[in-house]
């Protein structure tokens, strides 16, 4: 036993010294080893959504047929609790692919801080391509004055409802008339009191940082005409509009119109709720199982042409990419008008480009149920690209849960407390 000790101490000391010096080595500048004009084979990651995979495979096949010397290999994002965690781990390990077609804006600032993303504006036509395709709205996706993501597609969030349950509750499925908070609450009460459904609406009441994007935030964007949670370095929601939205949701929970616990199955599919906030993906997902209708998210006044949450997924290039020239050319190919049309056709998700309905008139004529979303896609806003973004949303969610979902604090305390915390986080 005694003999092991000196060896163990030596080994432990060596490893600890190695550990203490780990992680800071190298001397690069964050652009990785790839030059902006370098070409060659590249890897890309796609979402594991079945329709998106079909689109990705088709686009990659088309590219590979024309570019035998710059082959692209596509694969699903590796399994993880979330795509963001898998990508963060890949950046740290230096195993990220050249491009990922599933970037959530909230995660971008953290990855920029890690030195994991390439500023697409470094390409000669980078900034102009992004703004020409996405219009002025594309600038909202900038981080530290750089385009670290190309705004790719959106899933404008609207209120999806079960037409059969609405009819059973005595509401008109073609025109529910629930545009204002008061009308929405009245309709929701009617659904529950009639026994047509166990609950009127069932947003996930869980504490993940991204849950506000599917309850508070779409309504807040609608109420404010597109004001993001944080603007000019300060939280915006400690306001009359923020209070109106928070009090609306607090009423929904207090009156038992929405459950305070997560559903053990798909509440919409099994009919235990009549409404969900969802994007156009829901049309294909629910298919013939549920007869669904869509209406804009409500506001206090019931005004028309409201804004909503874009729920965009974008494309980023990673600094570990060696053939950045090929990656950029492929990125343009995959977000061209033809590829965007193919994306729309195969997934029903809205490419983030100007004049969507006018660019693809045939598609919307053949698929009228998506036309509502194309119209809504003209009025969307995303999460702000700010420092400590995930922490900001987690702080917001924690205080929102206490005040709005569980009623253990007041709406006023939530608004002022969360705003103060978030101001501090953004200023760091």
């Amino acid at each position: 036993m005694k003999t092991i000790r000196p060896l163990a101490i030596l080994g432990a000391a060596a490893l600890l010294v190695a550990g203490c010096s780990g992680g800071g080595g190298g001397g690069g500048n964050g652009d990785g080893g790839g030059a902006a004009d370098a070409t060659g084979a590249i890897d890309i990651w796609l979402s594991n959504n079945e329709q998106e995979l079909a689109w990705g495979t088709a686009v990659v096949d088309a590219w590979n047929a024309e570019n035998p010397d710059e082959q692209v290999t596509a694969q699903e994002i590796p399994a993880g609790a979330s795509s963001e965690e898998a990508i963060t781990a890949a950046i740290t390990a230096g195993t990220a692919p050249c491009l990922v077609f599933n970037i959530a804006t909230a995660a971008v600032s953290g990855w920029v801080r890690q030195g994991g993303l390439v500023d697409l504006a470094q390409f000669e036509d980078g900034a102009s391509y992004i703004t020409d395709r996405g219009g002025e709205g594309a600038e909202a996706y900038m981080t530290d004055d750089g385009f670290y993501q190309l705004p790719w597609k959106s899933n404008p969030v609207m209120v999806m409802y079960n037409r059969t349950i609405f009819a059973d509750a005595g509401l008109d499925p073609d025109n529910p008339g629930m545009e204002s908070f008061d009308d929405f609450l009245a309709g929701a009460r009617q659904i529950v009191e009639s026994g047509a459904s166990q609950s009127a609406i069932w947003p996930s009441p869980t504490s993940e940082f991204y849950q506000p994007w599917f309850d508070f935030y779409p309504l807040y964007l609608a109420e404010t005409g597109g004001t993001m949670l944080v603007e000019d370095g300060a939280a915006t929601f400690d306001s009359d509009e923020g209070r109106a939205v928070a009090e609306f949701w607090a009423s929904v929970y207090a009156e038992g119109l929405a459950p305070q616990e997560a559903s053990t199955d798909d509440a919409m599919a099994v009919g235990t709720t009549a409404m969900q906030l969802a994007g156009p993906w829901a049309i294909a997902s629910y298919g013939d199982a549920v007869d669904v209708g869509f209406m804009p998210v409500p506001t206090s006044t019931g005004s028309g042409d409201v804004y909503t949450f874009a729920d965009s997924k974008n494309v980023s290039m990673f600094t570990s990419c060696e053939a950045q020239g090929t990656a950029w050319e492929f990125l343009k190919f995959a977000t061209s008008e033809d590829s965007d049309g193919q994306l729309l056709e195969l997934t029903g998700q809205m490419p983030l480009r100007t004049d969507l309905a006018a660019t693809f008139p045939d598609y919307f004529e053949a698929n009228p149920s998506y036309e509502t979303f194309a119209d809504q896609a003209e009025r969307v806003a995303d999460v702000p690209s700010v420092p400590n973004s995930v922490e900001v949303w987690q702080a917001f969610r924690d205080d929102y849960s206490a005040a709005v979902i569980f009623g253990t604090s007041s709406v006023e305390e939530f608004l002022s407390g969360a705003a103060e915390t978030i101001d501090g986080l953004v200023a760091e």
Partner: protein
């Protein structure tokens, strides 16, 4: 290159002594244990040392080749987490969990193991029944418990008007106790096995002489069985404290991320949130260090309390 002292070359006795000091009297034995030593160093010692380093620096993970200053910040990360109400709440929640889970685990596993050891009918069937939850992945069992303990679940249907409101998993006072009950039930089979093994070492003669002295079943359990399995009790206590303090899967899945409103959040859940989701490994490491200290102290106390005087 280091040179060997001339005196050692000339004196084979000193050379042997020097070799023995570094390689031991059984170099082959050391060689055989080397793989495990390397395993311990790489899997346990290195991450622990690295975590200590991270906890004292303004640290975040970067892409390879990216040079960013990660300055030494002293106790700043510890101050940050110790003044964070969510962190303190998570430690309080863990305290509640341990207060329910550890005594229940010790008492139930000891009593059930004693019953199984005394030759009850269908002992093997009971043994399997107790052990199956331990073998089954928590992810699948949590789904069953959600169905049982949700607002419209089986338990509330049976309780009818006596069902708690808010329900078990969304009540700030019942969420953690429900998790503690779940973990007790799930882990029980393992601890019963430990006690069953320990009971084999309690001499039958002690029971027989106690019976001769007129001791009843309860008196024999108290005077013979409990002292006879003292070392197993120490082990069970320490293991229950360590696994309980590292609680993650159950609050993550059963109460949807430590809900309601943080009432079932745990330090490990916060480590995951801060270290992985929010990319703040420095504060996450500080929470980890505090947890190591708390678990160490609790284990030490448990060891002292169950030590034979």
């Amino acid at each position: 290159m280091a040179s060997v002292p001339a005196t050692e070359l000339r004196d084979p006795g000193r050379l042997r002594a020097s070799r023995r000091r570094w390689l031991g009297t059984q170099p082959i034995g050391s060689l055989f244990s080397l793989p495990y030593l390397v395993f311990v160093l790489v899997i346990f010692a290195y991450p622990l040392g690295f975590a200590v380093y991270i906890a004292f620096h303004d640290y975040f993970f970067t892409a390879p080749g990216v040079e960013v200053a990660k300055p030494f910040v002293g106790l700043d990360n510890f101050v940050t987490v110790l003044t964070d109400e969510r962190v303190l709440e998570s430690f309080r929640n863990t305290g509640v969990f341990l207060l329910i889970n550890v005594p229940l685990t010790v008492v139930l596993s000891m009593v059930l193991a004693t019953a199984l050891d005394s030759g009850v009918r269908w002992a093997s069937a009971y043994r399997i029944a107790f052990y199956v939850p331990y073998l089954t992945a928590s992810v699948s069992l949590v789904g069953v418990w959600m169905l049982l303990f949700s607002s419209g679940g089986l338990i509330n249907s049976v309780l009818g008007p006596l069902a708690p409101s808010p329900s078990w998993l969304i009540s700030s006072s019942l969420a953690m106790p429900t998790i503690a009950l779940y973990v007790t039930w799930k882990q029980l089979g393992f601890y019963i096995l430990l006690y069953l093994a320990a009971l084999q070492n309690v001499p039958r003669e002690l029971h027989e002489s106690a019976m001769t002295d007129g001791a009843n079943g309860w008196q024999r359990f108290r005077a013979v069985t409990v002292p006879g399995v003292r070392s197993a009790t120490t082990l069970v206590l320490i293991l229950a404290i360590i696994t309980g303090a590292n609680l993650f899967t159950e609050p993550y899945l059963l109460t949807n991320g430590g809900g309601p409103d943080g009432a079932s959040s745990t330090p490990v859940l916060l480590i995951y949130q801060q270290g992985i989701q929010q990319q703040n490994p420095d504060t996450a490491a500080a929470i980890g260090m505090l947890l190591v200290i708390v678990v160490g102290l609790l284990s030490l106390t448990a060891n002292r309390l169950t030590k034979e005087s």
